[in-house]
């Protein structure tokens, strides 16, 4: 019954179950290689709402409704929400989750937020502070491009290093009762700044944070690559994917044969014109709650290290010439009955 492990990790004494999970994505995600795995594909990018922001909130709202339905639960059975998004002041979360009237811990870890939400949610359940909680994040191409780069209507050219923000929301019910998967532990990441100043190259900004937390995870638990059937980062994309492999190889760990990045997996590089791949708070959340859980339910992967990655910038920090630091949080997810 360990709790604190090494410098940055926890091993839960009562590993919480993932009781149910739901992935709701947009049309482009539905047309990609993982299309068959998503619970719901929404053809209308506005999801029947009036703005990109309202649409993103509606993705979160629908994800909570669906994840409750899947677990045959009501909102009154959920003690806490752990939630966040990429918009300024986490406003997609505010308006998406308002109606549920569930106590909320608002989180911000950029695109790593679902890793933070799963870590804190699992800790609270394991400690006996809740029976069931929901971890949820979202992103939306329209709201994210407007927030961080250019409004879609501007039609700017995107360099090959740029990523494509996933439109979607992924939600998980963590429970002390039942489920096919368990959260065994977590390694919480530090902010890492390698001085990247290119808002169109998030992969390079985040890869050092992912390398740092994965390396520390191995150190803390005294394990290596072979301990996991798959190591899965959030949204490094093609550029960050290669940098991560190199950084870890330089530090004695070759993850190349068992490594997946959700941002690389979600779009078809040849036909979908997304350049470096997918990104956003919704990227790792929707891939985890669809393709990855599916492979785990089938016991093709029995133990994974899930490492959502985030780039910490705002338009203000960027326009004031600040670099783009990264952060990443690692979560150990196992098949409940190994």
């Amino acid at each position: 019954m360990k709790k604190m492990v090494g410098k940055q990790s926890l091993e839960f004494e009562n590993p919480p179950f993932i009781r149910s999970s739901v992935s709701i994505v947009g049309k482009k995600e539905g047309e990609g290689p993982l299309g068959q795995y998503f619970d719901m594909v929404v053809e209308d990018p506005l999801f029947g709402q009036n703005s990109w922001e309202e649409s993103e909130s509606y993705f979160q709202k629908t994800a909570v409704e669906e994840v409750l339905k899947k677990a045959n639960m009501t909102k009154d059975e959920i003690r806490y929400l752990f939630a966040g998004d990429l918009q300024a002041q986490c406003i997609a979360t505010t308006f998406g989750l308002l109606d549920f009237e569930i106590p909320l811990f608002g989180l911000f870890g950029a695109c790593s937020t679902i890793g933070e939400a799963l870590s804190l949610g699992a800790a609270m359940v394991s400690a006996g502070y809740a029976d069931d909680v929901i971890a949820i994040t979202s992103s939306h191409l329209g709201s994210a491009e407007k927030t961080f780069r250019f409004p879609l209507g501007y039609g700017n050219q995107r360099p090959l290093t740029s990523s494509w923000t996933v439109t979607g929301s992924g939600a998980f019910i963590l429970s002390n009762k039942t489920g096919n998967l368990k959260i065994r532990g977590c390694t919480t990441g530090k902010i890492k700044d390698y001085g990247i100043k290119d808002a169109m190259n998030m992969g390079a900004a985040m890869a050092p944070a992912a390398a740092d937390v994965i390396y520390q995870h191995f150190e803390d638990f005294g394990v290596g690559v072979d301990h996991y059937d798959q190591i899965i980062t959030g949204d490094l994309g093609a550029v960050g994917h290669d940098i991560l492999i190199k950084l870890l190889k330089d530090n004695g760990h070759d993850i190349s044969s068992t490594y997946t990045d959700c941002g690389v997996a979600i779009y078809d590089k040849e036909t979908q014109d997304t350049h470096a791949g997918g990104s956003g708070c919704g990227c790792s959340a929707t891939v985890m709650s669809s393709y990855i859980t599916d492979r785990m339910y089938k016991k093709e992967w029995k133990r994974i290290l899930f490492v959502p990655t985030g780039a910490l910038l705002s338009t203000v920090s960027f326009n004031e010439g600040q670099s783009v630091p990264g952060i990443a949080h690692a979560v150990i997810i196992e098949v409940a009955e190994l």
Copy 2:
């Protein structure tokens, strides 16, 4: 040894100590009625930096350095940071805490964030997931006005309902070892939307959330106003202060004789021209870590309910015509040896 209490509350089995706390504020806050209580008053609003944003980060950085110094600790002894601010994508936190290389849980609850940070930090320490953590938030008049309303240089008129964002940062070390105060428990708030659409009247937007969480706190623990020497809200200001008293009176609780609002307390209404009072992530954090802890150290107040309050808006949500919902988190703080 209770843990979950009622619908929304926790009572910690091992109530963490507040090992040390630090308040660092700007010139105007130093000139106010609580001036003598702050640990550091910074005369230069830029704190020697190049922008309001960098200044706010420097407030956070200095607060962590000072709170460690006060506890005679090093950064390596801190397992987690629980931190947030008001700027878009929590960028004051990113650049303020970057150099410490401590695992970070980034939080967003608008001006209620210090309540969220103390709740989660205390939960993690109580559960045995950390020995020592830091909870910290900040705000800055320059960065907040630019973010939410008008840049200071524009010189716009401020209505009497508007509040004045506190420039400052408050930091707390929560510990399982030693300290004069303890965090006994918490009640986590829900988002409450009463349809307020005036970004210059945050007090009215937040008061319903404060009333809701305080009412639920009384219900969960089966206590009333007389259980606390003082009930202290974050930054409702003069307008929200009166609304809260009325809302709770309508629901059977008269808090008027033992109620303080940090936003009302921090400035002199007659001479400092701040209109409704102070606000911001730094308001309740700096008043708690100065004036309130001082009164508790002197045992004038032995048990308080600390209720930081937040208004959930962004310029985008506001300009798109959305309302301003509120959230508030209640934390029970006691003298360690009652």
